[in-house]
Symmetry: C2
Subunit: 273 residues, 2 copies
């Protein structure tokens, strides 16, 4: 999916919501545990109930790896289902991978080719030759960690490097990577006050913003400082939507929460026009 | 496996060699491709031929993820085989993971509990609460990326932060993490000249050193600057050993290359006494 197609979908659906499929067998409704593949059953029902309210889904790969082979099977089924039934949805493998060149290429093939994700999150620590193998897939997007939503972000990301915070150096340096127009960046909503400066450095790239809801970030703050003329934002909510209820009504509860966010987003999008 | 047990194994085998199981179907001997599980067959034969010459094996997880379910199955079989047949071997999941707290715990469970690895490599970019969930497994080791062997290491790792290179800040900051005595660090052999300074910051921790051989690092340089009184080094070689031959003699060729490195290591260990 191209950036242009993603922007069109945002305007069509009046939403820039991404739903995180962080599926945890200890948190899904207990009645699903008797299903043959409870993870996929849960994902499928959440997707069917919310696909018209969001433009992206983001499975965090840790949740699938934690279940070994069964987890990988559920991930494969989930992405195959999304690509077949809802091909206009932007898909994100939240994997935070990164390794030396030929090894990053392996990860890129796994997620872009075998699983057919549209994008993957990548950690920047190993630099250019760990990121460019992902960018070499020119019809895909690479989403680089810049400023994350957790407390540990202050350990290194906000520390000054040559007089400038590390995350800014990451943003600026990555602009020089081959095919950098296909970069997006992870910026935590808990750091909304940093967004204006981030927009100065990367005015055009999309930002993937986790941490609205469960982690305490504010949607209107993020939009105020982070939106650009092409929207430029994907705002993720995981637990707040998918675990809205643990009872038989979990599907309706998830759709209701997604609808609330989508309605707020519709109002924010009107400000652009 | 405790650090003390690892040190004992090093002295018992006169070796601090780690063999990287970066198993690639395009590089293993073609006659193995007719096997039901060529990846595991290859790994098993390499392990059987080299286990007495090394103290650790390190599968890079990217190579297994690239083959989807079959790859995971081969990884599971490989680690199960190692733990059953050679329980004195230290095992490293080279995964370079790292995510917000509860998600890192998922990765930790996947590699430490389900797969029963002794250790995992972790990326530091997200800071304390992305690393400590791994350290919470007090009978395991967490191997933090410090200074990697690739060119991209110069993008951020060696840049000055508050007047100090980022990798040094990573080393120093991580010493304050809970259970940091169970930390090891990745330091590329191509950066051997940095080792003396690294030893000043982390005199006691083990260093996992990739990049000897195929990537051009020198074993004697690494030992000169990196060894401490408890050896404190695990030196990894992957391609130089496992792909020493693509013919029927690949097992013997791998053992020969491992033996060469082990002999050099025996000489280096004598200098300690």
């Amino acid at each position: 999916m191209t950036t242009q197609q993603l922007i069109e979908q945002i305007h069509l659906k009046n939403s820039f919501l991404c739903i995180g499929l962080d599926t945890d067998l200890e948190k899904i409704p207990p009645h699903l545990l008797k299903e043959e593949d409870p993870i996929f059953t849960f994902n499928k029902s959440i997707i069917d109930a919310t696909h018209h309210l969001c433009v992206a889904y983001k499975p965090n790969i840790a949740f699938y790896e934690a279940y070994g082979l069964k987890g990988w099977q559920a991930l494969e089924k989930t992405i195959a289902y999304l690509n077949k039934e809802y091909p206009d949805i932007f898909t994100i493998a939240d994997a935070k991978r990164g390794d030396i060149g030929n090894t990053s290429t392996r990860y890129a093939k796994a997620f872009f080719e075998d699983l057919s994700f549209d994008s993957i999150t990548v950690a920047p620590y190993m630099g250019k030759d760990s990121v460019e193998p992902f960018l070499a897939f020119t019809d895909k997007h690479t989403i680089l960690l810049a400023l994350t939503s957790n407390e540990g972000a202050y350990d290194f990301q906000t520390k000054l490097m040559d007089g400038k915070a590390l995350y800014k150096t990451v943003l600026e340096t990555s602009k020089g990577y081959t095919n950098s127009k296909n970069l997006m960046y992870v910026v935590g909503a808990t750091k909304a006050s940093y967004l204006a400066e981030i927009r100065n450095i990367v005015p055009d790239n999309f930002l993937l913003v986790p941490g609205v809801g469960a982690q305490g970030g504010s949607l209107s703050e993020v939009c105020k400082y982070g939106m650009n003329k092409n929207v430029g934002l994907l705002i993720n909510s995981s637990r707040g939507i998918i675990y809205a209820s643990r009872k038989e009504d979990y599907v309706q509860a998830a759709a209701k929460k997604a609808k609330e966010l989508q309605s707020q987003m519709t109002r924010e999008l009107k400000k652009l026009k």
